[in-house]
Symmetry: C2
Subunit: 324 residues, 2 copies
């Protein structure tokens, strides 16, 4: 098994090896800018770790891994435009720095570049992984559409929310893992299992993100907490708190959350106090734990030697702040 | 060889067989609306006709042909948003009927759907045609970027214009033909030749479109002529007329073309009069003829029996209003 750092350096190398044309500069400058913003490179890591875990050749997985990360960057680029988000990783978003048309077209181009990278693997895997990749792309679009719908809806149920984050976040993590398995020639049963591991981890991971926005520190979260509250995002914590609060507190929570009356700090504090009344932090940690335990159960069902699952599990358990 | 009508009905059937989910309706309603707008279905015809001409199985080409047309519809959807075009085939464009975010996301989804259809062919062809498809997608984006750049630039040379329409229009026609050839297992040399045929035909076809905007009838052109003049589009006719006019007429042409002072009918008439002074209609028809003759030369270089090239040539020569 390759250690985590080796897999990560292979991803960095793949990014350095990616040659983009210079012109038209109006198209390729924003693409370079987007790819240089960096990030955890979580998804390509999952492709490589899964391929390695199932005994595949890493060389066959490096380009598809890069393709997955390109796709992820494409979705961020278009999402930031749709959400009118001014900043991404502390820097101006493409539509802000350039304009909307550039953001649309640079995104489209990155998606096509991603598809090209996906194809660069062994011939037996190509058709299957490229199809899974594009099915997943469609699901991610559906998830973004549901997310936009929820902004305009008064009521969203918890199962609806879980379905939205499954589509918007979890399926891409799951597909990354399954693509690694398919490149390694893993059986359908094993490929499906690692996909399900990714779904459970991905949903847990997104709920963790919701949690850190309320109870995390800027250092740990990577951005200023409270953003979801200020944007009145219907997160797991908000929807669960509404369910658990008594009628008065629930009404108060809706009115504080939805209105823009209170100053930022006060709004965050008030919402946090209402969350605390129903022990939302513990409840959310339990929920994350349930998703993570399910993921651990799935990976153990593969009955692979412990050392074979080590890099993937070390990485994921660190992400989830959990043991396995 | 299948007759033109048979190939066309196979394309219609493929569209009818395309099953889209119902939900989220906000995503799939605009996609259905876009695909129902219709059109000539020129590009999928080229895929099928080329595959048939090179002795391939039409069944292997139907899905990739559909994929190419889906991609074409995706580019129209995003282009209409970028160009802020209110109408497409006499109906409201998606961003007008719904909104910009829906247009972005519906477009992204159609591109992913297109990629899935491209993969549905014989395993030997998949990697090659999917890569060509995405290379072409990138080139079409580059062409759209150049087109947007030209809107803001004062001077554009004729070679720059030809390069822009090569990327924005011709490469997709050429790739359609080459994909048909690749599915049929044609040699690289033959696949390249049919690609070059498509480039020459495609450039001629776009210059014809420029011509019909000035000298065509609404019946023939399918839309009201004069649109390019009113939008001050730097077309082949405009750039060539500038090159051929004396200093005074050229200055006059620029000032009339660029300013929004004159009423529509008068502007169109004045520009047409300036075009007439340098015989732009004849010159443009000659230019189209040169591209078409080059295409005919290429197709004959394949040395295929006359009956084998008949459906493709009948269709293309009709498009170009030329014999072969």
């Amino acid at each position: 098994m390759y250690p985590i750092e080796t897999l990560q350096s292979k991803i960095q190398q793949a990014f350095r090896d990616l040659i983009l044309p210079d012109r038209p500069a109006e198209l390729y400058d924003p693409i370079r800018y987007t790819l240089d913003l960096g990030g955890k490179r979580l998804r390509p890591f999952l492709v490589l770790a899964s391929c390695d875990m199932f005994g595949g050749k890493i060389e066959d997985a490096v380009h598809p891994a890069l393709g997955i990360e390109l796709f992820h960057n494409f979705t961020l680029l278009h999402d930031d435009l749709m959400d009118q988000a001014p900043l991404r990783r502390g820097k101006e978003t493409v539509y802000k720095k350039w304009n909307s048309n550039i953001a649309i077209l640079a995104g489209d181009t990155i998606f096509a570049l991603a598809n090209r990278e996906i194809l660069k693997t062994n011939i037996e895997a190509v058709q299957g992984i490229s199809d899974l990749f594009n099915i997943t792309a469609i699901e991610v679009c559906e998830g973004q559409q549901l997310d936009m719908n929820f902004e305009l809806r008064k009521e969203v149920t918890l199962p609806e929310y879980i379905e939205m984050i499954r589509l918007k976040t979890a399926v891409l993590l799951a597909a990354s893992l399954k693509i690694g398995a398919m490149i390694a020639g893993a059986s359908e049963e094993k490929s499906k299992a690692i996909y399900d591991f990714g779904i459970s981890t991905g949903i847990g991971f997104q709920i963790m993100d919701d949690l850190l926005d309320v109870y995390g520190t800027e250092e740990k979260f990577g951005k200023k907490p409270g953003g979801d509250i200020l944007a009145a995002k219907k997160t797991y914590l908000y929807l669960k708190a509404l369910q658990l609060s008594d009628r008065n507190d629930a009404a108060r929570l809706v009115s504080v959350y939805e209105s823009g009356e209170l100053p930022a700090v006060e709004k965050i504090e008030t919402v946090r106090a209402l969350f605390n009344r129903v022990q939302i932090e513990d409840i959310t940690r339990n929920e994350i734990d349930t998703y993570w335990k399910n993921a651990v159960r799935i990976i153990h069902s593969l009955k692979l030697p412990e050392n074979q699952i080590l890099p993937l599990m070390e990485y994921c358990s660190k992400l989830m702040e959990r043991d396995y």
